[in-house]
Amino acid sequence: MTATWHVDDASIERYAAGAANDAVAASIEAHLVNCGECRAAIAHRADHDRLEAIWTETVDTLDVPRPRVAERLLRRLGVQPHTARLLVATRSLRLSWLVSIGFALAFGVTAASHGEHTMVPFLMLAPLLPVAGVAVAYGPSVDPTYEVTLATPLSNSRLLLTRSAAVLATTLVLGGVAALTLPSLDWTAAAWILPSLGLTAASLAAGTLTSPTRAAGAVTAVWLAAVFATGRELDDRLAAFHSAGQVVYVAILALSVIVVLRRRDALEIRSEL
């Protein structure tokens, strides 16, 4: 269809400058679809930088995949878009969610039927959830992109700590939910939190000396042995969770942070792969 009328110069000028009101702009755009003469008239008046920006934005909107649900959720929680992308790539974050949910459900069901007997297993196993999550957050055996990641300028220790923090937050929240199912909601319901932090930091520190999975295995073995040994020694199965034990976990946490800070370059370049 050929247009029988044309947009006047003043309107074209305003439209090209982006100064036309919405009704006029919509009318001109409807007309331009069918009028080559007016399209030609407006072409040389258009601001090319503005057109380029609009085009780039359009291509970017159409061409770029929509962020997945987890990524959008993290952004809504205030996480920077690029950090959100780094986190959703962490397979262990999904695994941590699943394992922690399973753990919370299992303890909920067990606590309902076995009451007091669930306390010690809960306190012993809950701190190991983030340790397991951190073990599979980073490293050549669990991350298919490990070598590519290592060769990029982004600090690998920062990436590991970001992923570990996300895993820790996930497991702490779900561990807290599981704690609500315990038969007595006194101090013992929170006695696993400092061990969680201490053991996670210890496995990160050990990870500067060996692989993350070996580090987590060693920390797990030492933890279980220590809980059993103190329980037997003091004839109290909760001995490892009393105040003296909590002080030890704070000390382990502090010491491990120092080790990670001092040895962080071991995470940036490996002596073996």
Partner: protein
């Protein structure tokens, strides 16, 4: 003038196995090809060039900087592209998402500029049409190209490629040669490959590594020249030949020290493959790695 890549007397052991034993070499703009059989130490060497593995002894200088120093290592990594031997990919990501993810690791935090570069490298590697497909649905060759695309982000000054043509069909290999040779006009590319014809077609500089040591370092023409007078056609397999195989016309192509002049033997123009096979000797009968 110092070279862009300088390796001096580097050694590396894994347990009792010595992967590199006093390796020295230099590389500048253009393509340097590493040839050697499986287990020769090429991957170890390339991992050091990619700053992911530290040597036990010896010095490296990459792009004028020392990768042993943390701050200088980061500067190298900002100008580096790396395709490992097994370029692991997140199977659940689309090609675009994966390359975009690596762009974030490369500190490209401005979304629009980052996406522009992602589109550029996907186009360069011929992946634009399938950029929205999940990696688990891509063929082996397409996945290799995703691995190459991420390495090209940010127009790196040093490109380190470990077996980049493995799994590519002939057309994709030609496309790869086109892309990499364009980059190598003013950047340093170091690659290892199974394909001696890739080295012949692409590399100005070739280094043959065998049992952790450099056995040859020179131009491809110089490597080929080492086999001159040591390749001949004869009606039968020569007992003195290091290697011999029956060709399509029924005669035997022998390579080795010609020794006593064989009957009805015709000396042949050597190829880079002949020279390589002669250099690595008895290990040559297994495919080059």
């Amino acid at each position: 003038m110092t070279s862009q890549v300088e390796i001096v007397d580097v050694t590396k052991s894994f347990g009792r196995t010595r992967a590199l034993d006093g390796v020295s070499l230099t590389a500048d703009a253009g393509i340097t090809g590493l040839l050697g059989p499986n287990g020769a130490g090429k991957t170890t060497l390339l991992r050091m060039l990619a700053t992911v593995l530290a040597p036990d002894a010896g010095q490296l200088r990459l792009l004028g900087r020392d990768p042993a120093r943390p701050a200088e290592r980061v500067e190298i990594r900002r100008r580096l592209g790396f395709v490992p031997q097994e370029p692991g990919l997140y199977q659940n990501f689309t090609a675009f998402e994966f390359v975009d993810y690596v762009a974030i690791l490369k500190e490209m935090n401005d979304r629009r500029a980052r996406h522009d570069d992602v589109r550029r490298v996907l186009a360069l590697t011929g992946l634009s049409e399938i950029s929205g497909r999940r990696i688990r649905t891509l063929s082996g060759g397409q996945r290799r190209r995703v691995g190459l695309a991420q390495a090209l982000l940010g127009r790196p000054d040093l490109l380190v490629l470990d077996e980049p043509t493995a799994g590519l069909d002939p057309e994709q290999r030609l496309r790869f040669r086109e892309v990499v040779s364009a980059i190598a006009e003013d950047h340093v590319v170091v690659l290892s490959t199974h394909q001696t014809e890739d080295v012949a077609a692409l590399c100005r500089h070739v280094v043959v590594v065998h049992e952790g040591r450099v056995r040859f370092d020179g131009t491809t023409a110089e490597l080929t020249e080492t086999a001159r007078g040591r390749v001949w056609l004869a009606s039968e397999r020569d007992p003195g030949a290091q290697l011999s195989w029956r060709t399509a016309d029924g005669r035997h192509r022998n390579i080795g020290d010609i020794g006593d002049a064989p009957r009805r033997a015709d000396l042949l123009e050597p190829s880079i493959e002949d020279a390589y096979l002669l250099l690595v000797g008895e290990h040559a009968q297994t495919p080059a790695a």
